[in-house]
Amino acid sequence: MNKLANRHQQIIGFLLVAVALAALPWVAGLIGNSWVRILNIALLYVMLALGLNIVVGFAGLLDLGYIAFYAVGAYVYGLLASPHLTDNFETIAALFPDGLHLSIWLMIPLGALTAALFGVLLGAPTLRLRGDYLAIVTLGFGEIIRLFLNNLNAPVNITNGPQGINMIEPVQIAGVRFSRTVDLFGIEVPALHLYYYLFLALTLLIILVCMRLQNSRIGRAWTAIRDDEIAAKSMGINTRNMKLLAFALGASFGGVAGAMFSAFQGFVSPESFGLMESIIVLCMVVLGGMGHIPGVILGALLLAGFPEMLRQVVTPVQEFLFGTVLVDAEILRSLIYGLTMVLVMLYRPNGLWPQRK
């Protein structure tokens, strides 16, 4: 009898959450459209944090250049969904006289795959390095990627340099273009809301994949590597391949998030993919609880949402108190990230919501 009651409770709980999630953008939209935007960006961060969690949390590899995969996914999508390639390369223009206009179901996997490829390229020579060296090398890799994105506009214009790629087409699914407002079954749905549902769906998918990976032979192998690599090897685990797998999978999630970022923004430039971004994502994983999926989601939502809320509050408060803004929101944001990392390591090294106990 109890079991049935429990099942009922679970189903009701599940439905409540589903309704809340579905209604969220409408509620947020009442406060202001910028809040729906913030929600969407937060979801992107959740995807990134979950991807990095596979590398750092599951497999225990510190990657300080994770944002490079985000960048790769974003640029792949950007190149395929904008007129850049046809404008700059005659052969491509000849092959696609009406523009590339590839299906989103092709572009997202391409972004993911390219990112995964870069993950393998980076990981293959470096994954055997010890933890802190790996961190620095991945940091270097992230910077190299940004350097190339910033400079590959001559002699062949691939990335359009510091100006980035713009005029990226919004998402189009089943004939519905995610631009302005769309009429769905008589309801006026703003594009921002459509993006929210798409991002939510992708995020839920990523969560599902992560959970399944965690509770599997692969997940156990990763935890073994993280806990004691020598013992893991002695148990028959091919640690090199497992680490490479973690890297590639984590990278692919970053690539998916990057592609979505690209479509959402409509333009991408190297500025969005600096070291600070990598560190922010790491901060989310560390704060939430490395390896613990709910914790990581919490960390991502907190660190994505809090600075935004702060921005709304901090400026007027300072102007009220001091007559001028002493510490602007950007600086405060950075300070929060730095303090979070130090304080979490000192006082709650397992994060706000750790795995067990």
Binding site: V209, L213, S216, A224, I230, A231, S234, I237
Partner: protein, 261 residues
């Protein structure tokens, strides 16, 4: 004449000019329990590390099930059917006892990323099998009741047994145990002795590093004694106990007397 299950010939390994293992040869027939003893620092664990692929020998050959092997990595050794435990207990502290043993089965299972993500019927079947087998091994070594305890929370003796269960999970032909009785009291050692005999009874061979002379002499078919990296005696327990070189190494001269019992 059957080829031995395992043979090491003329193994040599030096670190910075000092020979930790110097011309060591060893042979294990199927079903035997072989002891490897010697004073601290004699090179026993180094031998283990050479045999299991953690170190590369400077010279010498290794052969398992009749075939020579030169593992590029320890995981090849495990796949071959040679499993080990560690002198300093290397359990996966953040996983439960059950999960630790499940990891031990890694070499014998095959589901990969796609299986994990898609939860195919084959993957689900394998997971059920893994859980069942892991529980079986936990019961086998006598810690079935602690299956959901974190490995780090178990008592010292239970942790040692968990390591053995984890090694058994890969269904090895040869089990290499590095000081499994270290830190155990007399009762625990008796239980360990029974476990080792049971393992041999069930068809596995054992290579045992141990300091407890009684334990070693009681269950080993043959014993190899190392000192300063060299083999100073090799034979049945009785033969070895009577060897003057062994007595000298353990009791006389430059070594401190064994402070354990």
């Amino acid at each position: 004449m059957n080829a031995p299950l395992f043979s090491a010939s003329n193994l040599r390994k030096s670190f910075g000019g000092i020979a930790a293992v110097n011309d060591v040869s060893l042979c294990i027939q199927a079903g035997q329990v072989i002891g490897l003893i010697g004073p601290n620092g004699a090179g026993k664990t180094t031998c283990f590390n050479l045999i299991t692929g953690l170190y590369t020998p400077d010279a010498g050959q290794l052969a398992f099930k009749g075939k020579p092997y030169k593992p590029a990595s320890p995981h090849h050794v495990a796949e071959m059917g040679l499993a080990r435990t560690f002198q300093n207990i290397r359990l996966f502290k953040s996983m439960t006892a059950l999960e630790n043993v499940a990891v031990g089965m890694h070499a014998k299972t095959s589901q990969g990323v796609l299986g994990a993500i898609l939860r195919t019927p084959a993957q689900r079947r394998e997971e059920i099998k893994v859980q069942k087998q892991a529980m079986h091994w936990l019961h086998y070594v006598g810690i079935g009741a602690y299956s959901n305890h974190l490995a780090g929370q178990l008592s010292y003796g239970d942790q040692r047994r968990l390591e053995i269960a984890r090694a058994l999970a890969s269904e090895p032909a040869l089990l290499a145990l590095d000081e499994p009785a270290a830190g155990m009291n007399a009762t625990e050692k008796l239980k360990l002795r029974e476990l080792l005999l049971q393992i041999r009874h069930d068809g596995k061979s054992i290579l045992l590093i141990e300091h407890d002379v009684k334990l070693v002499m009681g269950i080993c078919d043959e014993v190899t004694v190392l000192d300063y990296g060299k083999v100073i005696a090799q034979g049945t327990p009785t033969q070895v106990q009577q060897s003057p070189a062994v007595i000298e190494a353990y009791l006389g001269g430059l070594h401190h007397a064994e402070s354990r019992e």
